[in-house]
Symmetry: C3
Subunit: 468 residues, 3 copies
């Protein structure tokens, strides 16, 4: 039996399954719109072959690392290089074998379904990974990766990607995006403006980052006004490199609307590394407002991804650095936190702020009521830990009745795992079709409406919300 059942993720009740299947047929092969993610633009600019299975599929994937680590495998055993540059020395084939030996740990997780999809659809390996076939998988994947059909651009085309956004710091010269712009290859790879390193006073090296911002922008950043001018210059540059959005990864959704004097004073404090925790929070909050005001000018859509305790495990962080699976969600609060920003620009036509959360309690209590009222607000899809079948179903069930479908923005894959992008979009389309099928089967929606919605959720809402 094939690993990927054609009806997977649909409800098993035949009444709903038949409808879901019909809806899904419409959207299964629509192009992929990927407006928010973390792929490396060099892949597409340079089009060099990927290395081996472990390096491509396992080591950059914090979902995989975290689960294996939780069961006692060290980062060293998993072949992760230390922050000080010491290589682990682990044989990539042995690392892969650990993964194969422990594939049962992922039962019931989305990772398992994404990997099954990658194996079956990308590598034509249509059986379950296990201890016994681990090395066969490893060799076969490596063999295929070395062929032209698996070069980044070939995969991009095979995946039917209409547009993909990467995410860069304002300090990034966007060399790969420049190269792509001048390349005749028609694939659309755009950047997104992620200013955390230069708007968060608690970011590592903030003052140095601002010095670099001054250099790269050509604007003196010794005053708040100069700093804002530098950010404005960078946004314009990012827009020339295709950006249609900004993205903000703050610890909370706190916004602020401070006086010019307060802004100047906080900014000088930030440069001097002299802000207290609450002052840094105020500054970040003010910067969200500044970004919103600039969005009103330049039309970049704003995204806010708040509420993560980054690098919760200090020992792991010290030894191996960021993004190793030790980020933990925090309780969210939007109603009071966003008020300063909303009071100022909440009713502005032409401004869009897309909100994400890792605290599912805010879906029905805060986010859907806010997005169902404010013209500027839209809701991003179920994010990160909730980018999963049950997570997406909870999202639709808790959001839709108050905010409807049209205050949401379709799917984001949010990934650096390039090969899993089709798997992730496929999962989202299946779950959306399943949700719609339930509404139709329960006579809460007509079939022709569901057909229209399935396409809107798969492609149109993302195109419109992100101005693609």
């Amino acid at each position: 039996m094939s690993l990927l059942h054609p009806d997977r993720l649909f409800a098993s009740c035949p009444q709903q399954r038949a409808i879901a299947r019909e809806l899904y047929e419409q959207v299964a092969s629509l192009p992929i719109i990927s407006p928010h993610g973390h792929t490396d633009p060099r892949w597409f600019a340079d089009n060099r072959p990927f290395a081996n299975a472990s390096e491509l599929l396992l080591q950059p994937d914090h979902y995989l690392l975290r689960m294996l680590y939780s069961q006692g495998y060290s980062m060293d055993a998993l072949g992760i290089t230390r922050s000080d540059g010491t290589a682990s020395g682990a044989d990539p084939a042995a690392v892969w074998q650990i993964f194969a030996d422990n594939y049962h740990l992922f039962r019931g997780t989305p990772t398992r379904m994404w990997m099954d999809h990658v194996f079956a659809e990308v590598f034509d390996l249509d059986e379950l990974l296990h201890a016994g076939n681990g090395q066969q998988f490893y060799a076969e994947i490596n063999r295929q990766l070395a062929t032209p059909r698996f070069l980044p651009r070939a995969l991009f085309e095979r995946f039917n990607i209409e547009v993909i956004a990467t995410t860069e710091s304002p300090l990034d010269p966007l060399a790969s995006h420049r190269k792509l712009r001048d390349d005749p290859w028609p694939g659309r790879v755009i950047t997104a403006f992620r200013p955390d390193p230069v708007v968060d006073p608690e970011f590592e090296g903030f003052a140095a980052n601002i010095a670099e911002l001054a250099r790269i922008s050509g604007e003196a950043c010794d005053s708040y006004a100069g700093y804002l001018a530098a950010l404005r210059e960078r946004r314009a540059f990012f827009r020339r490199m295709g950006a249609t959005s900004t993205d903000h990864g703050h610890p909370s959704a706190v916004t602020a609307d401070l006086s010019a004097d307060q802004c100047e004073s906080l900014y000088q404090g930030a440069l001097a590394g002299a802000l207290t925790g609450p002052e840094a929070e105020q500054f970040r909050g003010q910067m969200l407002l500044e970004m919103a005001l600039m969005s009103l000018e330049d039309g970049l859509v704003m995204q806010l991804h708040p509420g993560v305790f980054r690098n919760h495990n200090p020992q792991l962080f010290a030894e191996y650095g960021r993004d190793k699976g030790a980020d933990i969600p925090l309780p969210g609060e939007f109603v009071k936190a966003l008020k300063p920003l909303l009071d100022r620009v909440g009713n502005e036509p032409g401004f869009t702020l897309i909100l994400f959360t890792l605290d599912e309690t805010t879906y029905s209590r805060e986010l859907a009521p806010l997005a169902g009222h404010y013209p500027c607000l839209k809701l991003g899809p179920a994010w990160w830990f909730h980018d999963s079948p049950e997570g997406m179903l909870r999202y639709r069930r808790q959001v839709t009745e108050t905010a409807g479908f049209y205050n949401t923005v379709g799917f984001n894959d949010d990934t650096r795992a390039f090969l899993s992008i089709p798997a992730r979009h496929d999962m989202a389309r299946r779950i959306d079709c399943r949700f719609l099928a339930q509404l139709v089967a329960e006579h809460r929606l007509q079939m022709d409406e569901a057909r229209e919605l399935a396409v809107d959720l798969a492609v149109n809402l993302a195109r419109e919300a992100y101005r693609l």
Copy 2:
């Protein structure tokens, strides 16, 4: 195909659907008990025809306004009169057309199902509203509204309403209720005592409200004792006008049990407009206790609807006033907040406090455990944003296992949208039958128990809890 499928809202699994259908048949045509709502008593007292479709169905409905506003329609375009009395000048037919053009926004929301029900059942318009038939709907609804069959009392009778409660301020002379009392028309329209304007020091015009309270009650309100006497007098008056309940719309569930000196001092501060925010909260908390103590004397059932950030959008509030869809829920807390009140009257036989929440996280964590222990506590139904199919299912699933069914009070429609009352009760009955059908189909409940429960949830629990 009819717009209203006879099996709508039941689970599509045939095993459950057949049971749900059988349970629903029992309760479909039972009378409507509406113990908590916001219809205008003048409708029933004066029995004059309703105006046009926009004015009756759209403009007073904050669910409709908020969704259209979230998608960029101005209050002006929707025909809403400004706070300063400036009419919008919008043509009601054009306003209605905006609604028809955007009916797809409501897909997946309860509003959509309520409106479909109103169109089909009340106006015999058994097709989906859309841009193309908008004006036909508008003309037909207006035509019917002008006929005797659509006078308020005729609709009241056609809807099979056994009793409906409206909600009035203690300062309201209850002229319509007096008129109804003296009218031979047998419809039972009662009032409910909503003292927010005279117990919340932060309510607009609090001091003036107290002056009016003194005047209308004939009690000097210059001392706390006099103030309590005035409230007692008003409660007695409301009871004579049929009230069986009070209702309290506080920002939180905080209660207090203060000394006589503290009460007097806070009261004088409130009159002088000199309370801080926390003091105002203390005063409101004390007033919840006072109301509870008076309920012990006079038998009025107490309702608490806490946890809403009212008028979150200041620009909209300044221009168009309250109830335009800009109220946003807040996190709830009951365990510590209610303790002063429960310590005092929690074990009193004869006292009933019905709790509502917009924070669904409190269902299983706080409300069900509290109501499953304290004799005085009962849980109100899923409220406002959660008065919806998924919202009601979450409520039953999260409340029942700890509090059972008999610590809940049946359904409240809580609406000023008179024509949707049958639609709302029908939705609640269908969802309750669906929930019971699942328990029966999964052998967690016997069928004869489910039959009894279906009737209890539809009418008996409300009759008993509200002492009707």
Copy 3:
């Protein structure tokens, strides 16, 4: 028709039900592993007959007491002895009749299904309890309880219990466990170390408890070092009596990592009864760390059950004492609270901390992300109010996608209601099989994987996590 349908608690959709049935057949008669509970070891040590139905089944069960109390039955009427020793004088047969008269209150609650199971499977009373057969049930149960087949050890064997853990204070001499150790009866009854009375400065009689700790351990407890030595001595004693775990019932999950001076100072303050609330919280937090450090030495698995407002009803507490159904959950927080402990021992191989919660919002937001990363963390099953069909489904749906199955520890019955232990394990096994069946029917998991998981969830995970 039998009271206990063979397919009860499985989804009614035939596609899922057939799979659930097949999975359940594998696990239905596996032995019971009960690693966390509150049965009385004297039952098994002394093997004396249980008294009457009311005294065995009703009066010790806070789930029953709370529901009856919430509907107006006094503790007196239910035959509960007062704290001062005054017996209620209520006839046990009359108490039982109250229960029978009100059996409908439990519709939709797990209590109802547990009791049905006990009546049908343990007493062969295969009909629904109601007012009319209440006395017949009472007499028949009493008759059976007097027979040898219903002695505690006979029931233990009939229930197929492989191992059961009771819970004792460090001050308990474990007389029954000593007796059991020296008894040829092969039943495995072990203790668990619950140090709340000697690590919580706010526990009733803390200073006297420490004096007793010094006496029983033979360690001078006048210094923090002596106190830790006494605890170490008691842990060693408990290990000799079979303990494999400790258990901690703190008001929150707060942990601390204080200096030696701070520890000494807080300890002296605790002995003197001079700690403020926050200081007591700090002390408890430090003690969680100390317990974790001792676990690293002695291998006892650590359990944390935080977040309950104990004895919320002071009037009831004053008259009737603890555990009468007046404990109410509080909001939970783990991400910041556990950090001091995790910073110290979170990456230690060989340390296990099993977390429980009554705040379901923490499942997907905090607990699954934490357990899906830290090697030392595992998640306990749905607890107390959530030890119910819907509660367990929410747990699996919200935990599995992030933490997988293998960071969970199987089922705990957590009960003092001995006769309901098979009912509780049966419910958990049925719900787990139902959850797995859904994954299989939706092609998210292969059938042979589900078969393996069903057994792991029923017995293996508990055996491994608790080192049994």
